[in-house]
């Protein structure tokens, strides 16, 4: 009885969840599969049209590349940050996380200024007698922006899981004559797998689905799947197709979740976020 009363405290949340999480999801599925109250697959199959298919392929490419770059940059960084022998280790780590709290639009603005045609990067190159580069409005600029925006989201879980790796293991391995590389691949990486996996998810999902970064750094010329969906809703009022594409996107997110949970679930000392 006491327990039941306690469980009632979750009641308001249950109502909230049904109304604002479950119901909206059902609505998307409804709009995706029904047009004029009739079942249809055409909205979901809109993904196979040339423009949309190109967009999802490009999104996958941008998402995978950004995630990979974030991982390759963060992992050594986390290793170094963990081993740093400095009185204010916490402060150094804090400095590397700080940009995460800066409004993400303003971080994009910063890159826009650096990369623009007559911007700082090109002026610098010009003064060094090097050829100018035109990055803005290309997929490369988008990847730049995404890596910059989401790097802390990769660093945080990896650093947290690395903090759980016991020094004893590493010392034991050293005593037994293991090389540094062997320690990295056979002890540290396996023990931080859960952090790697949550980092990958935390970066891959937003980079796959973002539309703001690609709109601002791509100058409206590069279409990712997020942009296509946004156009369908906000410019064309084509809710059916928009919902159909959103449904496809949900499936992609779902697949990446399943893949990642396969690799990450058996590890302890996760990050608390996922």
């Amino acid at each position: 009885m006491k327990n039941f009363k306690k469980q009632l405290l979750a009641g308001p949340y249950l109502m909230w969840m049904l109304g604002f999480i479950i119901l909206p999801m059902l609505l998307i599925v409804y709009y995706a599969f029904f047009s004029n109250h009739k079942f249809t697959l055409s909205n979901v199959l809109a993904i196979t049209s040339e423009v949309n298919f190109k967009a999802i392929l490009l999104s996958l490419k941008v998402g995978i590349l950004s995630t990979l770059i974030c991982l390759l940059l963060s992992y050594p960084l986390a290793l170094i940050l963990k081993n740093i022998k400095f009185k204010n280790q916490n402060f150094i780590v804090f400095l590397f996380m700080l940009p995460m709290w800066m409004n993400f639009m303003l971080r994009i603005l910063a890159w826009k200024i650096l990369l623009s045609k007559n911007g700082i990067l090109n002026t610098l190159l010009f003064n060094l007698n090097l050829p100018k580069i035109q990055i803005l409005n290309t997929p490369s600029a988008i990847i730049f922006g995404m890596v910059y925006d989401y790097l802390p989201f990769m660093l945080l879980p990896i650093y947290n899981s690395m903090a759980h790796v016991k020094k004893d293991y590493i010392e034991a391995a050293l005593d037994l004559g293991a090389s540094r590389t062997r320690i990295l691949f056979q002890i540290i990486i396996p023990l931080t797998m859960s952090g790697i996996v949550s980092g990958i998810v935390m970066v891959f999902v937003p980079t796959l689905t973002s539309f703001a970064i690609s709109e601002l750094l791509g100058g409206g010329k590069v279409l990712l799947i997020g942009n296509v969906i946004e156009h369908n809703f906000m410019q064309g009022m084509r809710w059916g197709i928009g919902s159909g594409l959103s449904f496809v996107l949900m499936v992609f997110v779902f697949i990446s979740m399943i893949l990642s949970s396969k690799f990450g679930e058996d590890e302890k000392g996760g990050t608390g976020v996922i």
Binding site: K6, Q7, L8, A10, P12, Y13, L14, M17, F20, I21, I22, L23, P24, M25, L27, I28, L77, I80, L81, N83, I84, F91, F94, L95, F96, P99, W101, M102, N103, F104, M105, L106, R107, L109, A110, K112, I113, L114, N118, G119, I120, Y148, P206, T209, F211, A212, L216, G226, I229, E230, F233, W239, G242, S243, S246, L249, V253, G272, V273, I274
Partner: protein
Amino acid sequence: MIKKTLSNIYLVLIFLFLYLPLFVLMTLSFNDSKSKVIWGGFTLKWYSRCFKSETIMNAFFTTIQITLLAALLSTILGTLAAIGISSMKKKSKTIYLGATNIPLLNADIVTGISMMLLFVKFTNLSFVTVLIAHITFNIPYVILNVLPKIQQANKYTYEAALDLGASPIYAFYKVTWPEIRAGVFSGFLMAVTMSLDDFSITYFTKGPGINTLSTMLYTELRKGIKPELYALSTILFFTVFILLLAINIKNNQKQHRR
């Protein structure tokens, strides 16, 4: 030794990658020329224009209102939910936590659109719809911060307090609350962070004329770059820096005392 130098170089490089763009924004905020590359002398005019701009100020106050209201309400709902969920049997617990994970794991654009579809069907998009959306995506963070604290807390002390005649509310306040307070607080902070930084969900659920900083910046940046925004960036950066530093120092002191 070489290894140490290499790792220091690496730290510096990443540090530059993270901070150089911000440093450029800050420098430009004092630049008395509209150009992005020519230094035209020191000025504070972009700051005064920033404070006089109705677009920026409106967006700023809307952001503060939404963030604080959403964080407060989601902390209350989420904490109650976490207490409820903690006393459930395994099966219903799994179902609850599974549903809690949906907005956490789903793409923001899909969450935003799905809520927009709901709001448009039953009402109009407005300030309230943004608030509801923010509360919805904040609750999971609160639950995930509070639930572990409740599970770590000793169940029997609460029951002992009840057996000794304390009312449930008094027992909660005296026994449970001190144990979960840290979790509730960090849940609240996380909700604030998420609300401040959200763009996609706000973008789809906001009514006409309502803008948070993120959506305002999106509209402005599509039009072009105004130097007032450099001033805004600088102000926001230092506000966040000082706030987080204060929280960090406070936490460090607590750890030292233990």
